[in-house]
Amino acid sequence: MSTGSFENWQGNMLDIGPLYPFVGSEGLMFIVCVAFWIFWHVAQWRMEDSNFSDDMKVLKQGDNLQRALKGEKILRSM
């Protein structure tokens, strides 16, 4: 029993092709990986928007923008 397409290194090397396990599932793996890549971009856009939104809220409070421009610490909890 092996998840790969060979079970020992004793035979003729010319008979050994793919070394990775689950040969035959490449198409499915490809779809999963492309989906993850697209999801990553979508999630990153959302995170970036959310970060900007949080920062803008803080900067718009009182004189926070002016203080931040002078180099003072600006905290999210302010």
């Binding site: 092709g17 990553w40 990153q44 909890s77």
Partner: protein, 468 residues
Amino acid sequence: MDNDVTALTIIFTEFYYWVTVVFMFLIHVGFCMYEVGASRRKNHMHTLMKNTMVIPLVTVTFFFFGWWIYFAFPNGPGIIEGGLISAPWAEPWGELMGSHMGGTPADSATFTPDDTAFWARINGVFWAAFLLFSWTAASIISGAVIERVRSGAFWIIAVLIGSFTWIIDAAWGWHPDGWMVRVLGYHDAYASGVIHAIAGGAALAVLIHLGPRIGKFRADGTPRNIVPHNPWLITVGLFLIYTGFWGFYVACNIPIIDVQNGDGVFLSATNIYLTPTTLSAITFNFLMSLAGGLMGGFLISRGDAFWTYSGGLCGVIGASAGNDLYHPLQAMIIGAIVPMICYKLHYWVERRFKIDDAVGAVAVHGYGGFLGVVIAGFMLWGYPASQKWDAVITPWGNFAGAIIMFFVLGFVPAYIAAGILKAFNKLRVPLEIELVGLDLSEYAARYEEEDDIIRAELEAARAAGVLR
């Protein structure tokens, strides 16, 4: 792999490309140092992460479709017959895009044992060498747009250039059977156009939409110099880029192949077009064009460190198209002249069109690469462009090629993509964030933690009685 000579040749080639990849990794280390050094303190982490994430995003997309494009697209958009070329070894779901012993194929309907014997050893390292070119193309744009571009927008443009448009240009003009080689006699051995001009053209397009950094231009339109916060980091970064460039040059060669057209065997290195050259030739020319570039950059900038180092890079880029065939003294002269022109062009474009290219990427890579291709057309006029096809290098062929690289595949797609992102208000960070610094989120979170830790330390000190 069934006889010793074939096996040694294939395994040597596999090792050769692997070494080039390790060297080329230094280009990206250098780009990160260079960009962070050029940015102001308030934008360091954003600048670093923007460039760092080019690595995974271009890598996975180059695996998904970039590598296949290189082999499938050489016939171009209907310019020569043949359409798409079948390239099953480069399909991401194929067994040869994975770890493989090179023996009997699992998919025997698609692959022969000869396919697997060759591609099992070469595919991964050859893919990686091209991938590192892809990172470079994307990173070139990264430097130009620092301190105001949204990371998400940049990463989409990075994938567009790094895994799509540049590799189309490679299929067209940097492939032994590419239509530009066959029809135009296009010659660009070490990628003046296929990497540098396309990336420079794309950077210019993005900069037009992005606009200058706040404060870059005075009310009367004259530019201010936004001083890099750390010139040392920039110069060490550029040194690392030079070092990585060795790997880049060597990766543009095939290390050992029979170049004799009948009548016995003559083993030699070749360039990417499979026409003969030697590692000695490109070593001569790389160093002499670098030396010329450093000297030219020093003179034109009156010894400014940033432009002297950039001049060295620009000198190599300017000579790269023909560095397989030039004499070292020719490489040196071209290497000296090109950065001087690019330096002048950079400041002219900055003043005239209010383009804020933070690191001079458009000049060094875009104009330098464009000029490099054009100069090679004159210098190598009449040389055979291919051993296989009846094509000759000409000034007009290389000029047309430079236009295709810089404008058609560099500028136009990036201009469209950046325009769409801008239309959705996704290209540039909000004004307030840019003013305060793009690391605000990073620092805000860090300050919260720091304050919390200081409070905890004070409490611990009081509990221990060492502080009232």
